[in-house]
């Protein structure tokens, strides 16, 4: 906006702006310095540590060994475990969130819509430690529902891949609802009417009009959900300890010295792997978000 309005006042304004520019630049300085020190430095140290090898008494040397280690054995298991869990929960979360959002958007009650949106905002926030404990109380070994329905005799175990998925969906589905309600609102009812007048069935409408328009939102939502699940640590740490292989748990183990000496840099390499995956996720998400914004306005 500013780029459009600034030149308008004409040449007379030019000198004033030129005088103001250097001082304005100073306003961004604290932010940039802070980001360099508190974000750039740790991330730089992480990158450096991930590609170097350090042993007491010997010089630090450049190596790809740490990265290679993370792509083998238990470390690789934890990476694929995290990716599988995130992909599965993101997929289920996208579908369920979309269905709920569609149910809310097509309903006529304003009160229902508002309460679902508020509830989604709160529940999507209900991550981390409190969520884990709520589920322990509900579906854990001595959880209320577990005891009531005797789930344990059916082979239910909260402290497993499935259990963790059920918990993750508790904040992923509301997140998807929040993402898809505005997009579904953007689907003009006229489009559906036009399709129906042209003789299209509901299925044809969704296949040829609805889903293509929603695709960037759906994909962007999926990717965001994936990223959320992938970076999650607290819930899993409070809950499963080491029983499900997750990369975040492995990094935490390595950082707190639960592995043999000299492996700290492997934790850094694992972190680097995570950054690469999260970077890919964001590289997909940001353009999609921009695109869906353009489509639906």
């Amino acid at each position: 906006m500013s780029t459009q309005t600034l030149p308008a006042p004409g040449a007379a304004d030019g000198t004033r702006r030129r005088r103001r520019a250097p001082r304005a630049w100073l306003g961004t300085l604290p932010l940039l310095v802070f980001a360099g020190l508190c974000f750039g430095l740790p991330v730089g140290a992480l990158l450096y540590g991930a590609v170097t090898h350090k042993e007491p008494g010997r010089a630090t040397s450049l190596t790809g060994e740490n990265i290679t280690t993370t792509l083998h054995g238990a470390y690789l298991n934890s990476l694929t475990g995290s990716v599988e869990l995130s992909a599965l929960t993101a997929l289920v979360g996208t579908v369920l969130g979309m269905l709920i959002a569609q149910a809310v958007v097509t309903s006529r009650g304003g009160a229902l819509r508002e309460s679902v949106l508020t509830a989604s905002g709160v529940l999507a926030n209900f991550g981390g430690i409190p969520l884990a404990f709520a589920f322990v109380a509900t579906l854990g070994i001595s959880g209320v529902v577990t005891q009531l329905v005797h789930l344990d005799t059916l082979g239910w175990n909260l402290y497993s891949f499935t259990g963790l998925s059920v918990i993750y969906l508790y904040f992923l589905v509301p997140l998807m609802v929040l993402i898809s309600v505005p997009a579904l609102d953007g689907l003009r009812p006229q489009w559906r009417e036009a399709a129906q007048n042209a003789g299209a069935t509901d299925g044809q409408f969704w296949r040829h009009v609805g889903l293509p328009v929603l695709a960037p939102t759906l994909l962007g939502g999926f990717v965001l959900l994936f990223g959320s699940a992938f970076a999650a640590y607290a819930t899993a740490a409070a809950l499963v300890g080491g029983s499900v292989p997750l990369v975040t748990l492995k990094i935490a183990d390595a950082l707190s010295g639960n592995v043999q000496v000299g492996q700290e840099n492997v934790a850094l390499a694992l972190s680097l792997d995570m950054i690469v995956i999260a970077g890919l996720v964001m590289a997909v998400y940001l353009p999609l978000q921009r695109r869906s914004t353009r489509w639906l306005h």
């Binding site: 500013s2 780029t3 702006r17 989604s120 709160v122 209900f126 981390g128 430690i129 404990f133 306005h297």
Partner: protein, 321 residues
């Protein structure tokens, strides 16, 4: 994300009446059943854990109902200490993140548009680094202290930022985590007002720059500032990863530490924290509604709830976890 929300308030008005048109009516009964099933199942899935948690906190099999888990929270060992530590960290983080971003964003709009993309990238980059990766980087840097710097004055700084009673290191880390959400919130707020015009008008009236920023721009940003602060507060109160791995003991770490011995109390505190989040969100949507005003007054409540809501979850997923 915030850019999407205006439709949330506008669309129901033009979509609802048209849904009732004759062409659609024929299919409505089937659709209503489908909708009921979806919402019903979702309701069960989302309400049962909350109800069950509550039952868990007040009912012990064989001993009947008691509210000791709730009355005992205040006197629980370490509760007030950890809560006040978290609140203090939150206040410091909010102050720091606003002091860094507000001048930068205003400066970018007023006189340094070329820096705009730089500031945006710097603010959004923390999204790419999961908290656990950030903390592994921080641990590495902090290890330099004793390893290489113990003879230099810098070492004192390293000690100071890790002070047990008020770990500044956490404030810095939380500020980094909050940057993307605060940036988005403030950027959306600044887009809604025409900063250049406002500043030029104020300066033509003889106002100086500090006065203009404090009395003209900031009041117009009230709801954006409120939502940025709320996001940061929620983020800091719930954050576990960084605090736990750096060995500090704010609120979330405290809940975990008591969960072994006092399971009921830990669940009770978890429920209360949900309740508090919900109240904060309500307060925030009120603030947004008052400043929103104008034509959309009737829907302002839901519209204000939506932007905060749509950016909050990302805050929780990136940071709380």
């Amino acid at each position: 994300m915030a850019a999407l929300t205006p439709t949330a308030s506008a669309a129901p008005h033009d979509s609802t009446p048209k849904d009732g048109s004759r062409t659609v009516r024929a299919r409505r009964p089937r659709r209503r059943v489908w909708r009921g099933v979806v919402l019903g199942l979702a309701g069960v899935y989302f309400v049962v854990p909350l109800l069950a948690s509550f039952v868990f906190t007040v009912h012990t099999p064989g001993q009947g109902v008691s509210f000791d888990a709730y009355t005992g929270i205040l006197s629980a060992d370490g509760f007030t200490q950890s809560l006040f530590l978290s609140l203090g960290l939150a206040a410091a983080t909010i102050a720091l993140v606003l002091l860094l971003t507000v001048p930068a964003l205003i400066a970018v709009r007023l006189g340094a548009p070329r820096l705009r993309s730089v500031v945006e990238v710097v603010c959004m980059l923390p999204l790419v680094v999961p908290p656990i990766a950030l903390v592994s980087g921080i641990t590495t840097v902090l290890r330099w202290g004793p390893d290489h710097l113990s003879t230099t004055p810098l070492y004192q700084t390293f000690i100071a930022v890790q002070n047990e009673s008020f770990p500044l290191m956490l404030v810095f880390a939380y500020t980094v985590l909050a940057l993307p959400f605060v940036y988005r919130s403030l950027d959306a707020g600044l887009s809604a007002i025409n900063v250049t015009t406002l500043v030029e008008a104020a300066r033509n009236c003889g106002a100086r720059v500090p006065y203009t920023v404090l009395r003209v721009i900031l009041p117009n940003l009230r709801s954006a500032l409120a939502s940025a602060s709320f996001l940061t507060l929620a983020l800091v109160l719930g954050e576990y990863t960084i605090a736990a791995l750096l060995g500090f003991r704010p609120f979330a770490v405290w809940i975990v530490s008591i969960s072994g011995s006092e399971a009921q109390t830990s669940v009770a505190v978890s429920l209360l924290s949900l309740l508090i989040t919900w109240l904060l969100l309500l307060v925030l949507s009120r603030v947004g509604a008052r400043t929103g005003g104008g034509a959309g007054a009737a829907t302002a409540g839901s519209a204000a709830g939506a932007p905060s809501a749509s950016s909050t979850p990302s805050a929780s997923s990136a940071a709380k976890e």
